[in-house]
């Protein structure tokens, strides 16, 4: 007897099996593993500072990946969009054990649970932001600029946080410390993004009808 998974999960696992997502997944996981190995102390007695680099690398990779795939959500069917959300979420969770190795070795003051709590919320937030960005790009007919927009948004987020002196949008600082503001922002973005995408999907359905 084979167990039947919900359609959304099946779609998400399918996205991880074929298409471009497995390739991007392998790329980001390999990049993170390489970062871990390169920053791991080469001999005993040296301080283990690997977590500080690995966590920031992971945080930026999650942001780029989720923003990029989020921009494609408004164009996809609701099932495909949900599948993408599931696939990207599974991919970002896959990164966490690699960060946990670095955390255990470096023993930073930041608790280990922070990455496990913040990553799913931040992924949902970035996907929603990407979705909103996708809608805006389509409206303004600037789809050619879409690949540049994800890094540009990140640079903007860093600049805003640095300017305001807070940890709200910046994935680099949010990775290194418990930042409730960061969590709240991405939680709210995920909620608003989901609402906006649902609204857009309904509008599109009405248009097709």
């Amino acid at each position: 007897m084979t167990m039947r998974l919900p359609n959304v999960l099946e779609e998400g696992l399918e996205r991880l099996r074929s298409g471009d997502l497995p390739q991007f997944g392998l790329l980001v996981l390999a990049l993170l593993a390489a970062t871990l190995v390169v920053t791991w102390p080469a001999r005993p007695g040296l301080p283990n500072e690997s977590w500080y680099t690995v966590s920031q690398t992971r945080s930026v990779l999650v942001a780029l990946l989720a923003l990029g795939y989020g921009m494609g959500l408004p164009l996809a069917s609701p099932l495909q969009a949900a599948g993408t959300v599931v696939a990207v979420s599974l991919l970002t969770i896959t990164m966490l054990p690699l960060e946990l190795v670095a955390h255990a070795g470096s023993a930073p003051a930041t608790p280990a649970w922070w990455a496990w709590l913040a990553t799913p919320v931040a992924t949902a937030g970035y996907l929603a932001l990407g979705g909103l960005l996708g809608i805006v790009v389509r409206r303004l007919r600037l789809t050619a600029l879409a690949p540049l927009l994800a890094p540009a948004v990140l640079v903007g987020a860093v600049a805003i946080d640095v300017r305001l002196g807070v940890t709200l949008l910046n994935p680099l600082t949010a990775a290194l410390q418990v930042a409730p503001g960061h969590l709240a922002f991405h939680g709210a973005a995920a909620f608003l993004g989901a609402a906006a995408l649902a609204w857009a999907a309904r509008r599109r359905g009405e248009g097709d009808a």
């Binding site: 696992l13 593993a33 871990l36 791991w40 102390p41 001999r43 007695g45 190795v101 930073p108």
Partner: protein, 466 residues
């Protein structure tokens, strides 16, 4: 304002005046012997409070400089108050300070406060004189001579950390035997005049005949009064011993997993995850879940150090005969940045911001950046010696412990020395390396030293060192 109102104002004002006059005498704080502190040393602290409730005395010494800014060293001393006069005597470590302020807090308000000028941060050791005529010694030594009543000499070795010599001529009364023994144990040269030696208690303590009788890290000077140069020569440089001992230890940052292991495991994890996704469906999801969970457990367990703060403690004993000067060094390494606490009253080996808390429970806290090591040194005290030199100059275990790696400076070595057992056959002393060699180079020839685990024991050669 009518006459009654004026009366009230005058009454209130007079109450303030009375309160202010009393406040000036509520508490007295004396740092060092007769208010003469020694910088970079443990000093006696005497707190006298009158009709003040229980509170705490806080001393803050700023060790900073222009380059590093403020580096505060805080000492917190609980003060048990109450009706009448209460006197508290403890020992605190005073670093070389830029500013030193103190305040006594009781009942939620500051009842007294004060400061010591920067000029008082003098590193020169004191020459204490118990005499009716201390001027003679002051003229002879031209150092930091302090006249101290016999009754005020504490019986704690730590109080004499900044004392070079203690002169007793009998005219100013005889201090308690425990006090002069504590001074000698702490490394001070106790100069006893002929008149002082007429006291049978003193004679019983120091013996007769020799002009110099070493004991623990100090000794009794029974001959012609020494001058400053002779005192310097007679003293054991415990600071140098301690610095060499502290340098020989230190906690090494742990690394439990090699780079190769991390590389192989991380690569295998990534490949297995990709394979699980290729499988797809429920088996793929299940495999992925098991992989993430298993990898997380492995990641959390394997490379994690046993504790985020690693502390290793070891003691140094330096003595002659049955008595030794003893101090303990706590080497610590903190992996996360933060406040590290050792439940002992200690001082940092190097200039560091921190807090020393006396009372119950005692503790010393340091604020350290991540992956930073530091050494804390406890206040010295007198302790029974475990290693001594026999009449033939050979090492003898006088405590209940078996000591290993026994060496005589400039002489032979033994694998171990056990109490009540003959020394085994001596061997050629193997060449020492690094910090141990530097430590041995400081010891006078003929001295013996041995190890008891991480503790080091030194039996100084009872030679005349000047």
């Amino acid at each position: 304002m009518n006459g009654r109102a004026w009366l009230v104002v005058v009454l209130v004002a007079s109450l303030h005046v009375v309160h202010g006059q009393n406040a000036g005498r509520l508490a007295e704080v004396e740092v060092g012997f007769r208010g003469a502190p020694v910088a970079d040393a443990w000093n006696p602290l005497r707190v006298t409070v009158r009709d003040v409730g229980s509170g705490r005395l806080t001393l803050v010494a700023d060790q900073g400089n222009l380059r590093d800014g403020e580096i505060p060293w805080t000492m917190v001393v609980p003060v048990s108050g109450g009706a009448g006069v209460r006197v508290l005597e403890v020992d605190v470590f005073l670093p070389a300070w830029r500013s030193l302020v103190w305040s006594l807090e009781a009942g939620g308000s500051i009842v007294a406060s004060g400061a010591l000028p920067r000029e008082a941060a003098d590193r020169r050791r004191l020459d204490l004189v118990v005499s009716a005529g201390p001027g003679v010694v002051a003229e002879r030594l031209a150092g930091r001579v302090v006249d101290v009543p016999a009754a005020l000499l504490p019986a704690r070795a730590a109080a004499y950390d900044g004392v070079r010599s203690l002169w007793i001529d009998g005219s100013g009364g005889m201090p308690a035997t425990a006090a002069i023994t504590a001074a000698a144990a702490a490394g001070a040269v106790v100069v006893l005049s002929d008149e002082a030696l007429r006291d049978p208690v003193v004679v019983e303590l120091v013996g007769e005949g020799a002009a110099w009788v070493p004991i623990a890290a100090g000794g009794w000077w029974l001959g012609a009064p020494p001058d400053g140069a002779q005192l310097e020569s007679a003293r054991v440089d415990l600071g140098a011993y301690l610095a060499a001992f502290a340098a020989a230890g230190g906690v090494v940052a742990p690394r439990t997993v090699s780079v190769a292991a991390v590389m192989v495991t991380a690569s295998a994890y990534v490949l297995l995850v990709m394979l699980a996704w290729r499988v797809g469906g429920a088996p793929g999801l299940l495999t992925w879940s098991v992989l993430v969970l298993g990898a997380s457990l492995l990641a959390w367990g394997a490379p994690r150090p046993s504790s985020p703060t690693l502390i290793e403690s070891r003691a140094l004993h330096v003595g002659v005969g049955d008595l030794a000067w003893r101090t303990e060094v706590h080497d610590l390494l903190t992996l996360p940045a933060g406040v590290v606490e050792v439940a002992r009253v200690a001082r940092p080996a190097t200039t560091t911001a921190g807090e020393q808390r006396l009372g119950t429970p005692p503790g010393t806290t340091l604020t350290l950046p991540r992956w930073r090591g530091a050494s804390l040194v406890e206040s010295p005290r007198a302790a029974p010696a475990l290693l001594a030199l026999g009449a033939d100059g050979q090492p003898v275990a006088v405590g209940g412990r078996v000591l290993s790696d026994v060496r005589v400076v400039g002489g032979p070595a033994w694998r171990e020395v056990a109490p009540g057992r003959e020394l085994g056959p001596a061997s050629e002393a193997a060449a020492l390396g690094g910090d141990a060699a530097a430590f041995e180079a400081l010891l006078p020839p003929g001295s013996a030293w041995a190890r008891d685990g991480a503790d080091w024991h030194v039996a100084l050669a009872p030679e005349v060192r000047w």
